[in-house]
Subunit: 357 residues, 4 copies
């Protein structure tokens, strides 16, 4: 379980720093026979790209994935798939003035403690730039899942105190901020504009919804499907919480209310409600798997902040001129959540092939 890898059978390893030459991902264990091309991956990357809307960071790079291996005659061959995404807009000079300051809410302090070194150029490995690789790999996982009719959506359900109407998950694409409730979307964008004008940032919540899963995915005890999903979600930068199905609200529910009632519908056994979030005992029931992920407000803000240098002297942290600044990281995280759900389910699907003789 090396630090930069995710998954057991469908396993990705990502590499690259925010302002290095490139970032990339190696996907090992993808079954042979899946049709993939670069366009599919680039479409996924475009959704995550900065500069996509005024509400996300204006980095001007165009993410172009290059498939270097693992595809033969248009299909996965069973060999590892290596994808490279060049870093085009990567001028590190503006990071020099702050390089000896501890950045509030950022990882340079802990990297220095752990490794004795920190690549200050745009956050190096700690940058959310790494998540482009997750999205690229996720596009392939989704293609695998699609052959089994599994679909995955993710969308914004809360920014600040504004919440979307429950159940809104279709047509999120029309919203510049991936919120499928048009009314909430409008109020959220207003909040984002105000927050940005103040040089501040704000948190949010992303919901995911996976439909079409067969029953039986996930393992009992430690690799419960909700546990691997929680691990996947909390590995995304800036996440602070995860819930599955009823989530934290279950703390104030009765068993008689929370238990989903089994019944038979068209020869299939299912349940009338889905407080479980599509998982019982760690194993998928066949109903939709859904949950929510909490994101903290971006730590990069335009407001100057008191801090210390790496040697402990008082200092003031100011974002460099022309710095990228996301008022709400939850928005750009939507395709990342989707990708991580896809990677988790693809792995569970393959692992489940050994359950029975």
């Amino acid at each position: 379980m090396a630090s930069n890898s995710f998954g057991t059978l469908f396993r990705i390893t990502t590499w690259g720093e925010s302002h290095g030459k490139a970032v990339g991902v190696v996907i090992d264990g993808c079954p042979a026979g899946i049709s993939i091309d670069e366009e599919m991956i680039n479409n996924a990357l475009a959704l995550r790209a900065p500069g996509r809307s005024p509400y996300t960071s204006p980095r001007k790079e165009e993410d172009k994935a290059e498939i270097l291996s693992g595809v033969f005659e248009g299909k996965t061959s069973g060999a590892p798939i290596s994808i490279l995404i060049a870093n085009n807009d990567a001028d590190p000079s503006k990071y020099v003035p702050n390089k000896d300051l501890l950045k509030p809410g950022h990882a340079n302090f802990t990297y220095l403690e752990k490794y004795g070194a920190f690549d200050f150029r745009g956050g190096g490995r700690a940058s959310a730039r790494e998540t482009a690789c997750r999205v690229a790999a996720g596009a392939i996982a989704k293609q695998l899942l699609a052959t089994f009719n599994v679909t995955i959506d993710a969308y914004i359900v809360q920014i600040g105190s504004i919440t979307a109407k429950p159940g809104c998950r279709k047509e999120r694409a029309r919203s510049p901020i991936f919120c499928a409730d048009p009314d909430a979307s409008e109020r959220m964008t207003a909040l984002l504009e105000a927050t940005k004008a103040q040089g501040d940032s704000i948190g949010g919540i992303v919901e995911f919804y996976a439909a079409g899963l067969p029953a039986g995915l996930g393992d009992p005890v430690y690799n419960k499907l909700e546990a691997t999903l929680a691990y996947a979600m909390l590995s995304i930068p800036a996440t602070k919480g995860f819930e599955i199905g009823s989530g934290f609200a279950a703390a104030n529910m009765r068993g008689s209310e929370h238990n989903d009632r089994f019944f038979r519908q068209d020869e299939v056994i299912t349940t009338q409600t889905n407080n479980a979030g599509g998982i019982l005992g760690g194993i998928s029931t066949g109903l939709p798997v859904y949950g929510r992920v909490a994101f903290k407000p971006a730590s990069s803000i335009a407001i100057p902040q008191e801090t210390v240098t790496t040697t402990g002297s008082p200092a003031t942290f100011r974002l460099p001129e022309g710095s990228r600044h996301d008022p709400c990281v939850a928005i750009r995280a939507v395709p990342v959540v989707e990708a991580m759900v896809a990677l988790t389910l693809a792995d569970a699907l393959l692992l489940n092939r050994s359950a029975k003789i």
Copy 2:
């Protein structure tokens, strides 16, 4: 990452069904030189034991751990530590009448889908009985952590709609339900009695708090410390959510408010607040690591429930006479949460030994 194992270097594997001969755990990778004995493990097990208070299930077994290997002259030898806990109070006969019914909120449906078989005796492998093994292994992890002055507490902070006062974590032992706020504890026990009288159950929230950690534990990207904690927590039966530090509340916070300000105190760099929950960029800061885990209400309730048989015929599920019935599983989960935090941190501590040359 086999299904019944947890951890990379400090790695446990548990086995055993609720009503089989025994349950047990093998701990592999515990460093040599740690003093351990069976009493330490049995003390930990006593906290989790059913029948400990009127608010938990009255299973009458006395959990006695037997160390079968891995300890030589009172200390860990580097060899795997095998611990066995016999199942004494394990009469499966009462489970026979319901063996062909799908139990609402339970895993027999998904086990049947996945494996084609389900050990109906007390839930078999899906039973919370397995968590006794986590507590036993956690006692050893805590002993390892204690040599580095790391301490871990867990305690109830919410049952139903009743919440404990923030910051109450000491002297939880005086409360029969592990709640360190005496006033809330009293109201919670009243609620539990009423719920039990109604044949129903209720959910709750457990908080954990680990202090004394060195900075540097946890890995960037996928094995972030919060990600492995989330995985650990969601692997506990009946959990529905996890949050670290500010958690879901971060969704409605500003960056200027959420960012913890660095300063120097007595030659050590630290922060004035701890919204981060002691982790930045996946790596421990040296401040306390804390978070919360949501538990659903127990699915075993005395109220009869409509369901279907395994072949889909309508039926009514009634708990067998004299059945164990926990009104709130969050309470007995407190030592389990503590154990899982300990196992996660022990592994992170060992993994961190390779960070630098």
Copy 3:
């Protein structure tokens, strides 16, 4: 890849010291639906048991495996299978006089260097007693493989300078030393008697032969089938070498001679020779997989040996009175080799289920 575990999907973890309370194994990842019982395991253990013939060590224990979990109504349930074998003949007192001496050819020196401690009682964890657990787990792996018509044999092909006729592998059971060539078997037993009378020991070579494998098992690059077999074999105590197919003899062969010629026989593509040992590019061809494992002479000999104490003072090592003493460890290793081949192939069989969409 914890030290005491073997396998990825079909994964075993063993525990226990030679003279502790018991040894045992947990098998995780065995598919549900395989019929197993304790008798099958005990039959396998009987083949490995010391005291089986005058040519192996006379330990008088009767190995009785107890299945503690993972079997429900006579079949594997998908839950981990825990097997315990008690240590009955385990009087450690005779090891006390030598406890501070470095034993030539033994592991107490290296355990002390690594762990700072060594369980001197019969070798503790370093004892070949651990291999009983491999044989128990191997019996289950063989049962899984049998459902796919895979069979595995192992047998002695060399002791000292005496070699068995090539191709002799059937009816090994009639030989007290698992050698299927009756003539060689007779000469080998004479050699063993002479060696034993001199208080000395001698090395040997075990061959394995697995037939009925489907093509496609094993992975390219690192998890080549021959690589996992080599890993499995060299993990057996006292092994010094491994070869697959043509083995070391290939060093003196021509390509024109070594290349196995493909042809079609009864609608199946196969090869006329099998220098490859049933594996090309790390993946099984469908032909028999065979190879050889070299064992050093047992390091426990009755002849007194010069050595030093753990602190470096000169001393003489004498086997304790009434000590167990195997003139040739390769013999008792035959069922262990068989078990390790079975465990390797069972894992490869499950891993191969994800090769294609």
Copy 4:
């Protein structure tokens, strides 16, 4: 344990096909603080490069490694190190005529069976081209080991029936075929020339020798140091055997002769002989770790060979015009053996950091 990865803590993942755009490796878990540069890697690659001598295949590419990530200010930063090696001399057109033939001794048959597809261009993933990535990663592992004064050599000890004088391992560099015995080297080159003239190939044996290791590396039971070395060696293409220390010769040795005698020399406990090969009970003793690896003759030969097509029709396999053709693959494998030993020891070194409290 994904197919294209090697190692637990110091872990590499390689990717790329022989005639794709590039091959590459990601090294995850390399400790921070090690000085590395591209020149060091390119020097290692030059030793493996084809066309280095008339005795290896004349591929004209110049392998240039590009470090894409993981190095900051000249030192490893703790982030994954991505290295890319472009495929410059990669014209696949000459492979087209044979694309539907089963190539004797090659992997296209087994890849087709496993994956349903095979990248016929130069062997695709099955090509020894992948070993360039091992050499690149090995150069970094060697740099890590060098800081602990561990050195590793590998050299030819046998080609056909010609063997080098035992103990010759220095000054191998003067020999075009990495053989440190000048007399044997001369006779071997004559044999290689004759073999090549016949359009044939021949096998060989490579020895490795690692000195300066601390005692304590390697784990008991499954991850024995000799087992991980065996796994590493048999993962190299064309290998048929592995032995450690006394190896197969141990089968004809007595215990009284094989046991290495402990004594004290200059305050250090060591042994007078080293039949063990520097490992006892799976753990390094502090003496040199050495062993041998057998290579089959290259399966690509100029002599036409009878075979069948992928659908089973009789056919003749002829190497394409101007094809690369190595008379003895063992020679180019020397730096690969060295690299795999380095990767194995680097991982063992890091794993050993958790042995004691």
